[in-house]
Amino acid sequence: MSDKILELQNITKYFPGIKALDGINLNIREGEVHALIGENGAGKSTLVKILTGVYTPTTGKIIYQGKEYSFKNAIDAQEAGITAIHQEASMFPELSVMENIYMGHHLKKKGALDWKEMRQKTKDLLQKMEIDINPDTPVKNLGVAQRHMVEIAKALSIDAKVVIMDEPTSALTLREVEDLYKIVRQLKKENKAIIFISHKFEEIQEICDCFTVLRDGQYIGEGNVAETGIDQIVNMMVGRSLDQMFPKVDVNIGETILEVEGLSKAGSFKDVSFELKKGEILGFFGLVGAGRSEVMRAIFGIDSLDAGTVRLKGQDVVINSAREAMQKGLAYVPEDRQTQGVILEQSLTSNITLPIIDKISRLGKVDAKAEKAKTAEFGRMMEIKAAGWHVNANTLSGGNQQKVVLAKWLATEPEILILDEPTKGIDVGTKAAVHEFISEMASKGLAVIMVSSELPEILGMSDRVVVMHEGHKTKEFSRDEADSDVIIKAATGHTVESNA
């Protein structure tokens, strides 16, 4: 094959208290799409930040175009020809498309910025990508997919030799994914090296030539996609096979506890209706930005609704805050654990008792004994691994933090539990424990809504599946009807249920 353009040797990265990467090797060749595979938390994002100069490695060598490099900052890496399309929101919403593309490497003429040239080049670039966006539009006016395309245009604008794409398809529809593949193939033809980060295997098979697998911050192996086969890659990635993962047991489904009808919120979702029964796990599937979390947030009273009714046990209710939702027996484990779920800088005790703090107090004074007892009860139930209940949540691993969030919501003794991406970014072992736990709670009669972007999780855990696309509920499947094909189709807008 062609020449090696980028090589990482034995890269290690420490953060205070954490060894994020340990002995990573990576070999990237020109004209090749290289899959970087690993579960959330495997160290992919840290590695990308090292490649793009955002972080410097603690030890190890970066060899680029035959020379040893050390990138001091993002500009260094960009000028050398390495660029990344970041997963995180890395746009300037108030600024124009053209400026978002050129920020950090504005074009100049005679000492002043050359807006005319930048506008023209942006136009050319967008045209080449076959996207119809005005270069002067502020990015805040664009939709999710358009923003993503601007991200890609930004990467291409600096004529990079190595392009890193961090989960580029997670928010795209099928058609947009095809557009992206077209661009990737085009880049390949231009002999650029592409590092493609993903955990979707269809995607890896479709577009990638070779792969490197990371697990828990360590290098596991590399190879050729076609020769290795997906099964073996999966094994490398998770360290065990998939079928052990979903301990879903059959349960007796009880009476309806929650009905929502015609929920709408401008810009987020429209006319969403569904019902939930006791003992049931209702899966919510869709692409990122389909409006699932928004629906849940509105039901839980975090955001307001424009229209629609929520009925609990047959009674119409209006929920205006999380507090009211809680009092009515709802619990919500939010999507973003680190900012919405736990309070990182506070003790596990404070975290677990926060939602019930009013219940374990008298005349406003906190009952310290009850506080300890509740923490211990629900902390043990979730089998949280920590040095003690007094330690801060930020000393825990992602999986244990998620257990803290689950513990704090179970302490409220809810009747309806809404889980938003409950296993995002946690290690495989904890994932299985969380699944087992969800299944067990449902069998005890808890009604569960589980929002997830992981199809295997949805298929493995749900009694029923609701699929959303661009703010609409497109389809609903029973456990027997649900398979990956029909769900994906519904999630990408191929079948729209008519909501009369």
């Binding site: 300037f92 600024l95 100049k108 502020p138 810009g267 703010g471």
Partner: protein, 327 residues
Amino acid sequence: MNTIKELMKKREITLVLLVLTLTVLVNLRAPGFVSGENISRIINDTSILIMVAIGQFFVILTGGIDLSVGSIIAFSGMAASMLNQSNPALPVGLVLMVGVLIGLVLGAFNGLLVAFGKVPPIIATLGTMSIYRGFTFVLSKGQWVTAHEMTEGYMNLPKGTFLGLSNLIWAAVLVSAVMIFFSRYTRSGREVYAIGGNKTAAHFVGVSEAKVNMLIFSISGALCGIAGVMWTSRYAAAVNETATGFELQTVAACVLGGVNIAGGAGAIPGVIIGALFLGIINNALPVVNFSPFYQMFIQGLIVLAAMFINTMMDNRKEKELLNRRSL
């Protein structure tokens, strides 16, 4: 279809209309308010505010605030006046440069605290506000520099005219032009917008937050230096209380000019019009028989009202935007 510029323009046009309406109203009560002479006086009176407000604009653009502007003006003005008093032979231009340099150093110290000490701008400048004010007293030993202790040349610095406009107005024009160029046509200028818009994203494309903070606080300080020299020479007095509470007026000019107080959005032309708006009000108060003691209250009221309207407009725009999306 240049939406952002359109919106900015709209806001600036609204502001211009507001300024015109206000002027006409005042003129109805007090005919003669709109005269070439009076208008030139208003602009002259507002020039210092324009310069300092532009410095404040950059700081607010990053989401910070500079509360020390008044104290920097006082210190650099006092220092320049004392220099002029003790060395009357020194060219006025040199005195001005010393004043600017002093302002720059004090501003850079603010920048240092924010950029490398990780002290939030509000705390850093709240602290230096009293430190620099205290320094002014220490420097002057509590004394004033009055008109008869200053040289003619010093006092004429802002008053001299060129093409019919005072040097002070020219200074404001020059500062505005340079700063508009800086904010639109230099990488550093755009980096200020980047930091204000999204710090993480700015970091990804290699924009250094520390560098931007150093830069904007230094600019703010240097502009306060110019203002300090102009202030003391124009009023022919350097007192320890110079420009007390001036920070509010500079923030007011920015807010009136449509600058988002939380950072990320705004432009200098708006700030200039905002400053002129305040200048007209200050000039109109005595004309319409309001005691100057009302000035403080009215300024506070205007700032609050402007922020309120800005927020409401932003909310409405956001709603429209959401409604326009495919749903």
